[in-house]
Symmetry: C2
Subunit: 428 residues, 2 copies
């Protein structure tokens, strides 16, 4: 069996991880705005408080909370308004006993005050004189200095992707530039005598080159920088030359096609020649068996021979290279969604299966939750959640990838998945 | 009650939708590579088949399936190899009775053949002579012309976002340029005397301007083009001038701050003056009540007064403006994830609540599925899925937004959510 020569997905991932232990990702500085979607290469700590001072969250009157104790509709507390703090001002006068300071939403709370009575629970009965109809407790309607973010707090972790919330938080503490991982430079090489580019005539026997564009999109969508796209026929010397050059100027080289065992499959020989360090000669994965992994130790380049079939090439990229890059940068795993299988699916034992699925939202439970609960064993079916339907396709299919929302991994030791079984689907 | 003046979220969305009925989004042409992440403005139909011809999915021998009927280990079928088709070649000789044509994975299937016997179920016993040990059925190991994508098939719908699969499919049918929606041009205006930019000293009473960056990130992350960022104090004339100008050169203007009812809240007056068409004066939504919606009919610009609190501003942008843009372009709703509430949460009746949550993966079910099933009513708790934990924060908080994975909408007529209740969380 050819399977004897292959690694499991887990083994291949571990080998790649260990082989590239000495490969350090470079970092660069990015402006806050261009940092969106990038990955922080450092923990970031705040050097400011948010808010910078105790702040009112309401329009009203700042005072010592104890001034209001016992206040009620029929027993209002009488107060003297001893000042006013506009929102951009330094708070002045401290309210003493029987006093309050008028504040706006966002105003600084003056010394001596620890709470704010909302304006609607007060009434001005004479200039500078109010009655208050409700008690407040200390801290009420006040956000304390540093309550949102405190000086010294870690606000971004290494590996955290900069999204909308992170951008807001960095702006809030006055940080305009951060260190992010430099995007790894990728060369995409597609091999095959049968490949025609767009615009080229599709003569008999030729097919359009899908992998160059699909792998470029896959690499870019996980934060890589595809600098070169190369299409070559099945000519060993030309492939070898292209891989040599790519290894010198890229961090990652993605070659597709030519990784099987056929007479014109040169990838393995080429990678052996260029790196002398091919460590995975196939993965016990369906689709994706013809996957070759190598590491050019001298030039610190990861070189991958991916399957020729577009869906397999993209899935292996996701499962091996994108996974490795996430681990290397400290990023979280991509989001998975719990779902229930909508059909029985069989799989080969001995090979892990990556099954593309569509996720269909099922909402029956809302109509009658009581009935659902009573169904016992079958309760899953009626519940509000996702049903995963396999997107079947022969291995060359690209439409299956476009039609799938996610994929489900079926372990090696399983014969398949049963209809109604709960699974996790990883989003594509 | 001020609530009498407000719309529900649904009403505000419908008003915005109807007001902007005459606003047509412009489109532009994009290269396949730069189209990634963009939204197709048209249905796209294939003008080619994928694959373009019947193709072998295996290395082996193409023949008429009926030639192999009855073949077995002890009763092999004898065949004459009458030709060979390399993968980039036009298929030549048709196999007749008792004949087969050698093919590779990807080779064109010759006329007269309708199946491929895998090489491992054959043996060459003399040059050009093989025995076949297994029967194949018609279509086996063959992918038919157009089976993946057929000529005339709709492969992309209007409103579909171009991802990895779509890119591959377009490349597969030789399309290099597509029509996408032009990114709407956005101006972000932040108002408030208390706002300090980064680098500016944070004198007493001042806070950092978060909204300019957070709203820019939010707009860019939903595919908009933020051309101008403006910060202004609470000065009516200046705000009016900035909004006038922005309305002339933008599709969408996002103003934050100044949308409440305070003495320095000028947004509503300004929008009334600039557009004469303010149709929403507040939304019964928590957070997000001080939201003002206007449409400049003459210049076809959507102008929004958003809350000053960063989290509220970003959430209202998502719930109103991003929602409108998705509907306008025909995009799908953002992905929601089913989850179980991890805590009781109370909410105000009469106002819909948008509650930011963290999603925690709970995997107890895997350990003992039988026990879980037996628990009946409680079975949800033990199931493999997400638990949603509310991210509590006072309304000015930005850290809450950074700490949340998703949000949950609590309807107006509910007093809250119960621990253990199943909900849908919309991903942030």
């Amino acid at each position: 069996m050819k399977l004897l020569n292959t690694d499991t997905l887990e083994e291949a991932r571990e080998k790649l991880w260990k082989e590239t232990a000495d490969m350090e990702l470079e970092t660069c500085e990015a402006e806050l705005r261009e940092a969106r979607g990038r990955i922080s290469s450092r923990d970031i700590f705040s050097e400011e408080n948010i808010p910078p001072f105790d702040r009112s969250t309401m329009d009203g009157y700042a005072l010592a909370a104890e001034e209001t104790y016992g206040a009620g509709e029929s027993s209002p507390v009488f107060l003297h308004v001893c000042g006013k703090v506009r929102i951009e001002e330094q708070a002045g006068a401290s309210p003493g006993p029987g006093e309050a300071v008028q504040v706006q939403t966002g105003s600084m709370i003056p010394k001596g005050a620890d709470a704010v009575v909302m304006a609607e629970y007060t009434e001005e009965y004479a200039p500078g004189r109010i009655v208050c109809y409700r008690p407040v407790s200390p801290g009420e309607n006040v956000i304390r200095a540093g309550e949102d973010v405190y000086t010294g707090e870690r606000i971004i972790c290494r590996g955290q992707q900069i999204g909308v919330g992170e951008t807001g938080m960095l702006a809030g503490i006055g940080i305009r530039r951060i260190q992010v991982y430099r995007k790894p430079v990728v060369t995409v090489i597609s091999t095959g005598d049968e490949l025609a580019g767009a615009g080229e005539p599709l003569t008999a026997g030729m097919i359009r080159d899908i992998n160059t564009d699909a792998l470029t999109a896959a690499a870019e969508s996980c934060g890589m920088d595809v600098r070169a796209q190369i299409r070559i026929g099945d000519e060993r010397e030309k492939i070898c030359h292209a891989v040599q050059e790519a290894s010198g100027n890229s961090d990652i080289v993605l070659i597709s096609g030519g990784s099987s065992k056929g007479s014109r499959d040169f990838t393995e020989q080429v990678l052996e020649k260029v790196t002398g360090n091919v460590f995975t000669h196939g993965i016990a994965l369906r689709p994706g068996k013809p996957t070759i992994l190598a590491y050019d130790r001298e030039r610190k380049t990861v070189i991958t021979g991916l399957p020729g079939h577009p869906m397999a090439a993209v899935l292996v990229f996701r499962l091996v290279i994108a996974h490795w890059y996430r681990r290397k940068t400290g990023m979280d795993e991509p989001l998975s969604v719990p779902a229930v299988m909508g059909q029985n699916v069989s799989s080969n034992q001995g090979r892990e299966t990556c099954l593309p699925v569509r996720l269909i939202r099922s909402c029956e439970a809302e109509s009658n939750p009581a009935e659902t609960a009573a169904e016992g064993q079958d309760s899953q079916k009626g519940q509000d959640g996702y049903t995963a339907l396999p997107v079947y396709a022969k291995s060359g299919s690209i439409s299956a990838l476009a039609g799938a929302d996610a994929y489900v991994m079926i372990p090696r030791d399983r014969e398949g998945l049963k209809k109604g079984e709960r699974i996790w689907a990883e989003l594509l």
